[in-house]
């Protein structure tokens, strides 16, 4: 493994970082960029970014900080509300990816845009918009081979993309972008899908590109990568620039503090103390496969007690979703065991788990938690619709009268604002949809409730209402497993926090140990000051 604190290859002799902050002239300047979405969401607020030629610049921030939005503006995908973009001192207009590419700006997205059944050569030629049948195929092959020699990005040109490992696909995606004569390369979370070895190879390539004069902007939330690769870093939080600084001399702690802020813990509803009991949920050595067959959750163990909110913090995509799905019977458990009130849940489906006392507020409520086209009435019995209490005497007939009474009660108790029970669910606001989903799940009188990102995308009022409900059921002596990417929410609600990073639980903290900076470091994969992984 190469020593990542060493200066980039190619910068022989004494090392001076290429950065505007180190005195280099700015080449790319984004001035006062503000982005307001039509629904009023302010994604970016007066953001400045200055990058020198040949610099590797990190763009660091939590989920939703605005990193991707800013870069989508720079690569011509999104329009911005106000601000200016200057390239080499001249203002440029970037209305489309074509404009951006014409100015040498190209972006490699998290989701590759390659045709899986085509080989690399065809994909790269397609990227130029040229016809596959055009006679310059041989010339294109020569050109790409030269590019591979120059950059050290080697990839087989004649094997269909779908047969290649993800790391190689990414190299092809980068080659495709560079083939458009790009001199500003934007990479969005490029290591998210890579193995550690592939990550090392990628870093070597990026250092080489920078040494040859290509400017690189790296979007990431991993502190380790920022420290290892970049010359300077700009940190975003909630759509604003927290600050820019040289990477040299920065520590993971400094960056974590900038990323998550230093606010005091938010006030919480009063919480009742409970006697320690048998754990409601016991998870022992759980391993769960992701969609790609990789281990998304790796050998995870924890216990949740009655009357406790146990939160799992972490940046989205570190195995939390797979963990919830496995515990709620939607995804098979690859290894290890989990027990709900002492009974094994391995191999059990959602309906059996419901009978055992589990309720689940799913992360993706639009896809799982509701049927958007169904009415509020029909959605109120999703998951309990098979129960005899909603039947008529006539075998198997749903008693809509009873369902209506039940739904009216839910709507009333959980203050769901809806014109009528017959209103389609999709016509409700997100907050009211979620109140119905949470209410429906709480009405199951569960022993354990799993809540995935319960307040994501909700307005302030609905967020407060949902959080109060979670604390209420905790105080009633129920166990709550809260998975949230919102650190404030975790700190406000949880009795204990487990931080997940790349499928593992790095640490479990008690409430008196809660510390933003420490949790921020853990979320970035840094354990007790040393880099993990």
């Amino acid at each position: 493994m190469p020593d990542r604190s060493a200066p980039p290859a190619g910068a022989a002799g004494q090392y001076k970082p290429v950065s505007v902050l180190a005195g280099a002239p700015p080449w790319l300047e984004m001035r006062g960029i503000t982005k307001v979405y039509p629904n009023g969401t302010r994604a970016l607020e007066n953001v400045d970014l200055r990058v020198a030629k040949g610099e590797i610049h990190g763009l660091l921030g939590e989920n939703g900080a605005g990193k991707s939005t800013l870069m989508k503006i720079l690569s011509g995908i999104l329009p911005f509300t106000s601000g200016r973009i200057l390239l080499g001192g001249r203002e440029v207009s970037l209305r489309s990816t074509h404009d951006a590419l014409a100015h040498g700006i190209g972006m490699v997205h998290q989701h590759f845009s390659l045709v899986p059944t085509f080989n690399a050569l065809d994909n790269i030629i397609l990227g130029r918009g040229a016809s596959l049948a055009s006679p310059d195929r041989a010339a294109a092959r020569k050109r790409i081979q030269r590019l591979m020699e120059e950059t050290g990005l080697h990839a087989p040109l004649d094997i269909p993309i779908e047969q290649l490992p993800v790391g190689t696909q990414q190299r092809i995606e980068i080659l495709k972008t560079l083939d458009r004569n790009v001199d500003l390369l934007i990479l969005d979370e490029p290591t998210a899908v890579l193995t550690p070895q592939e990550t090392d190879q990628l870093f070597e390539v990026l250092n080489g590109l920078a040494a040859r004069g290509t400017t690189i902007i790296l979007i990431t939330h991993k502190l380790r990568e920022v420290l290892a690769l970049t010359n300077a870093v700009t940190v975003l939080r909630s759509g604003r620039v927290v600050g820019s600084r040289l990477t040299e001399g920065a520590t993971a702690q400094d960056l974590a503090r900038m990323m998550v802020g230093t606010e005091r813990l938010p006030e919480v509803k009063e919480r009742r103390q409970h006697e320690k009991t048998e754990p409601v949920l016991r998870v022992a050595g759980l391993t769960v496969k992701g969609d790609g067959g990789q281990d998304a959750v790796k050998n995870v163990s924890f216990e949740i007690n009655a009357g406790e909110i146990f939160a799992i913090a972490g940046v989205t995509g570190n195995g939390q979703s797979e963990l919830i799905e496995a515990l709620s019977g939607l995804r098979p458990i690859a290894n290890g065991r989990a027990y709900l009130l002492g009974h094994s849940i391995n191999g059990k489906g959602p309906r059996e788990l419901y009978r055992m006392g589990l309720a689940h507020v799913p992360e993706d409520r639009h896809r799982l938690g509701m049927v958007a086209q169904f009415s509020v009435l029909e959605n109120s019995i999703l998951g309990v619709h098979h129960e005899p209490r909603f039947r008529r005497g006539l075998p198997g007939t749903l008693h809509w009268g009873k369902v209506r009474r039940y739904a009216r009660d839910l709507v009333h108790r959980f203050q769901v604002v809806t014109p009528s029970l017959a209103t389609p669910m999709r016509s409700l606001s997100g907050g009211n949809q979620q109140k119905l989903v949470v209410g429906r799940e709480l009405a199951k009188s569960p022993s354990l409730i799993i809540a995935g990102q319960p307040t994501r995308g909700l307005d302030v009022g609905a967020t407060a209402a949902i959080r109060d409900l979670l604390v209420d059921i905790r105080n009633e002596g129920k166990a709550v497993l809260l998975v949230s990417a919102d650190l404030d929410e975790v700190l406000a609600l949880a009795d204990r926090v487990a931080v997940m990073y790349e499928g593992e639980i790095l640490a479990i903290l008690e409430r008196h140990e809660f510390d933003r900076e420490r949790i921020g470091l853990l979320m970035g994969g840094v354990h007790d000051g040393s880099a993990a992984g």
């Binding site: 998290q110 989701h111 995509g317 959602p350 059996e352 619709h385 014109p419």
Partner: protein, 384 residues
């Protein structure tokens, strides 16, 4: 800080908007049907006029032939009978989220089973009829099963498998008519079912039998199933959002299989109605003329009936009327049968077009949603 008044106002605005939208929806739906009908009839008139026929007289003939007297009405309902059932096959499947065009094949094997049982099993009248219907329903369900299992276990698309099984049924029927169930005295058809297994004409001189009640009964059952039973509740979720069905603790696979089987039962019964419910032959013809195209016409019926069991009954009666009226069109205006079919086609296309459009949109957007879900799940981080 009490948000109540604001929410109250929002609530009222919402309910007002909802009422308006519902009203607009109903009105738009009716207007759509009227406009489509007018366009279809207008184009049909243009075609007939261009070919030198008296289109006014032709349409008069259509009306008289379909609804002119009790015999005409009985003929219309007789034509509608199998179409209600084959329409349900497509309509029910579409509600559950897939494109089942296997009604034709399932209906043919249903007809074969009806001949085999009806012609050979002697029993008291009601019992014989019941047995024949049961055999046909079973045959239709069995014929639908491979497509269901192929879809569930191997991911084979139902359009491909049901088309294949339609052709297998077609040629199997030809073989059976001439080799196994053949009537030695009348080589062009199968043996006739026993008298006790026959349904008699309700109005002497017209083709309508009690089969119409069976068809309407099946439609009412499907209506009950879809909107008043937990299984139908699950089937509709399977069609709209299979992930939510899994979350709700049910199996989308089971729903798909159940829907296929119920659709197969309806198709099989449709086949039986064309054997024991079509006087005077009570047999299957070697050219399969008594079941020809009924499965495919069912698709048009379902589209016009907006995949709703009660809408399907009305749509089947409409298509049945077009069929029953075609004879009088020929007699009164001298329009040749092919021209009659052209006119039928334009009207049906005009009526079905809006539904085809929205159905296509739904299938396309579901495919897109699936792909997006897959690629999102593949990535590790989701960022805004």
């Amino acid at each position: 800080m009490d948000p109540r008044p604001v929410e109250q106002r929002e609530l009222e605005a919402l309910s007002r908007r909802e009422r308006q939208r519902q009203l607009r929806g109903t009105f738009a739906g009716l207007a759509e049907i009227v406009v489509a009908l007018v366009i279809g009839l207008f184009v049909g008139a243009l075609v007939m006029d261009g070919a030198g026929y008296d289109w006014k007289l032709a349409y008069e003939g259509l009306l008289i032939g379909a609804f002119g007297d009790q015999w005409a009405i009985a003929d219309t309902l007789a034509s509608a009978t199998p179409l209600i059932l084959t329409g349900l096959v497509f309509g029910l499947s579409a509600r559950a989220g897939y494109f089942n065009i296997g009604a034709q094949g399932q209906m043919i094997v249903g007809a074969l089973a009806a001949v085999a049982v009806g012609a050979h099993v002697s029993a008291p009248p009601v019992m014989a009829v019941t047995l024949t219907f049961l055999a046909a329903a079973l045959a239709g369900a069995l014929w639908a099963l491979p497509a269901a299992l192929l879809k569930a276990t191997r991911g084979v698309h139902e359009v491909i498998s049901t088309i294949m099984f339609n052709w297998i049924a077609h040629y199997t029927a030809l073989y059976m008519v001439f080799n196994v169930l053949n009537d030695p005295r009348s080589a062009e058809r199968t043996v006739r079912v026993l008298p006790e297994a026959r349904l008699g004409a309700i109005i002497p001189g017209a083709d309508m039998t009690a089969a119409i009640f069976v068809a309407v009964g099946v439609a009412l059952f499907m209506y009950w199933l879809l909107w008043h039973s937990p299984w139908g509740y699950e089937m509709r979720i399977a069609g709209l959002n299979p992930s939510a069905l899994r979350y709700a603790g049910a199996s989308p696979l089971w729903s798909v299989n159940l829907t296929f089987i119920l659709a197969g039962i309806a198709a099989g019964i449709a086949g039986a109605t064309q054997i024991i419910g079509r006087p005077p032959t009570y047999a299957l013809y070697g050219d399969l003329s008594n079941v020809r195209n009924l499965g495919f016409d069912g698709i048009a019926v379902a589209l016009i009936g907006r995949n709703h069991p009660l809408g399907i009954i009305l749509a089947a009666i409409f298509i049945g009327a077009m069929g029953a009226g075609s004879r009088m069109m020929q007699i009164m205006a001298g329009v040749p049968l092919d021209m009659v079919r052209i006119v039928h086609g334009t009207v049906i296309i005009a009526l079905a077009a809006p539904e085809v459009w929205s159905l296509l949109g739904k299938f396309l957007s579901r495919g897109r949603a699936r792909r997006e879900a897959a690629s999102t799940a593949h990535s590790k981080t989701v960022q805004r």
